[in-house]
Point group: C2
Chain length 401, copies 2
């Protein structure tokens, strides 16, 4: 358990607390952007972040400290690191973990390819962990490769949903404000630390509701659902530009658009070496519906999986690929089609290792227009369910719409 007042009685919606190291008290700026980007002729402020992550997570009711608890199989702290890391003006991120967790922390940094992260040993209290983090950033460390920052953001390792705008507000406040009694009374213990030991200004900045702290087991559930929702906002229908395939691919795309509100449905072609597909992957779409028509096997799906594997998209989040196949019961018996496609199971097992969740979907393609629409609607419901749940227990299954 961390020292200080219990998390339950703290305002859950308030943002990270901050401190500025001695000497950081430069001229204030009223323009939000100028805090991150320099005014002409002035250098941008150097910003770093310290994450105290030495807690034992007693309130969680699980043996693993909460910052290391898996959310979609990835430790919670990795989400928080990613949230800070994608803010380009945070130059260094220092994480303070207990001695026994340093090795695990380094593995997390390596596995999830985090950048600009340094690991220091946590102290016996949260305050001492923050102090150790600040010390690592101080100029007088002879062998330090870290830049001495003007502003240091102190951010809980268990608040994974921090956004750039809140961080920016913190940085601006750090350069602008003194501390009032109000801040002291309702703020958290770091504010008091900053005031007492750093002889510097401090200010409480309001955060967003998303900035809440993962404290109890139910918060882990909520975090997992929020993350699942965030990565399920876009579906890309992938098809080759062959005539038959494109036609039926477009039909499916239209039904997905009309059936799945709140989801952006795009499409990408596998030709041109997957140029537009690369762009979709770059923009972080985590859900793909791959149309296989002309071939009786997984030719298109295979191409897509190769592109996905090369892209490293699935390092941070599980990527869903639904391999779609069509059949006309009048031409080929369903059972024969299913038999042909059973090797999707071995295939799914293989890509599962690289965090890709592959499912098969056979869509009945009757000549009757109305029946076809019903088939496609059923397919849309199944696709939505697969994407929403990201259920790794049923990968490699061949579903039928």
């Amino acid at each position: 358990m961390e020292p200080g007042p219990p998390g339950g009685s703290r305002p859950a919606e308030r943002g990270p607390c901050l401190s500025s190291p001695p000497g950081a008290d430069e001229a204030a700026s009223a323009s939000p952007l100028s805090a991150a980007r320099a005014e002409p002729g002035r250098r941008p402020p150097a910003v770093a972040a310290v994450l105290p992550a030495g807690g034992s997570g007693e309130r969680m009711g699980v043996p693993t400290p909460k910052q290391f608890c898996p959310v979609l199989e990835r430790p919670l702290i990795s989400y928080t690191l990613r949230a800070l890391e994608r803010v380009c003006w945070i130059k260094d991120i220092v994480v303070a973990v207990t001695g026994e967790n340093i090795e695990a922390m380094n593995s997390i940094i390596q596995k999830y390819q985090h950048k600009r992260i340094s690991v220091v040993e946590a102290g016996v209290t949260r305050h001492r962990s923050i102090f150790n983090g600040l010390k690592a950033l101080a100029e007088d460390q002879p062998d330090s490769k870290l830049c001495k920052p003007e502003v240091v953001i102190i951010h809980d390792a268990v608040r994974p949903f921090v956004e750039e705008d809140v961080l920016l507000k913190v940085v601006i406040a750090a350069k602008e404000h003194g501390c009032s009694d109000y801040d002291l009374e309702f703020g958290t213990e770091c504010l008091q630390l900053a005031l007492k030991y750093c002889h510097t200004k401090a200010k409480l900045v309001e955060g967003s509701p998303d900035l809440w702290k993962v404290t109890y087991k139910r918060d882990l559930y909520a975090a997992e659902s929020i993350i699942k929702e965030r990565i399920s906002q876009e579906i890309c229908v992938v098809m080759d530009s062959k005539e038959g395939e494109e036609h039926i691919g477009r039909l499916l795309e239209e039904v997905l658009k009309s059936e799945l509100n709140h989801v952006k449905v795009t499409s990408g072609a596998l030709c041109h070496a997957g140029g537009d597909l690369q762009q979709i992957i770059l923009e972080q779409c985590y859900n793909f519906v791959c149309v296989n028509v002309m071939t009786s096997d997984f030719q298109e799906t295979h191409k897509l999986l190769t592109i996905l594997e090369e892209s490293n998209l699935s390092i941070l989040y599980p990527v869903v690929v639904v391999s779609v196949h069509f059949f006309d019961v009048k031409l080929v018996p369903l059972s024969q089609k299913m038999e042909n496609l059973m090797w999707i199971r071995g295939f799914a097992k293989e890509v599962r290792k690289r965090n890709i969740l592959l499912y098969g979907l056979l869509i009945c393609y009757p000549q009757d227009e109305q029946k076809l629409q019903e088939s496609l609607r059923q397919a849309a419901i199944i696709i939505a369910a697969l994407i929403k749940e990201r259920n790794s227990g049923i990968v490699g299954q061949l579903l039928v719409a």
Copy 2:
């Protein structure tokens, strides 16, 4: 939005607040049980509950007021009603909803078969809603069928996880304690209401971490996950007592036991008119794995579904039924077996209307002992995934292990 301090700054883990109507201030009892059960020669205290549920749920960020938001397709308030209703010593439960929601509230009571519930119109504030609830319970209402209670528990409609022991503590405290300054300062607004208008004693009672209030959308996610977890604690393997079926059923039961930790695996026979199965249903098991061996169709599953439908088990929670079928690839081609079983889709669609989620599972049954174990382990993973997610989008699918 409800009046009073914002939910975020209130201690989230504190229990319901309470008030006692005038005249309820009888001799205190130190024994927990004696508050609910009378001491010899004394009558048990009459307890009622008032649920203010007139809030608009602005903070949730969804158009539906939070108490009516669906959790596993059932409105949140129904879970709270159920939590109070199963406490036999709460004689009446009064819900205060806005005029426009009275009809919806009555439908909820009817659909989920709630008992001992009265609906009153909410006031413009939370305090007035509580007052309206108390008024309905007062003796001087000429046409009231409600008993005049000695203690009234006032409980938020959006705290669905309240347990009997906390409610009992509240009742005991209501009869025992006066109110201190501490309670006033850190309590919620109802405490103050009780003090100001009822000229009665009031006391803040500590709740459990599960008693938190559903305020934000993330809390709905958490509530859904907690409920899913709670109803996934037990799996019943259902089999007929025919020799072949029982043997393979027992094998599957053993693998489920060893693979799924933290889950209680029981078994029930379909013979004897399902006597032991009735007991398992009565004890609220929501997950069934039904073994079909000797028959090539759904004979056993059909029997089970009939029993489940007659039991009303699925009124409150979705019930998962996995219809398990075995095949030996050497004897029957997989495709033929699948073709035989494809009518599970229509079947699933039918029982889905009665909140039963039916899935098919074909388990490969090779002669090789080691391969059989691998098959059964794979089946256990799929069964666990189906039960954990309760994904209604993929009901009627035939999965293969």
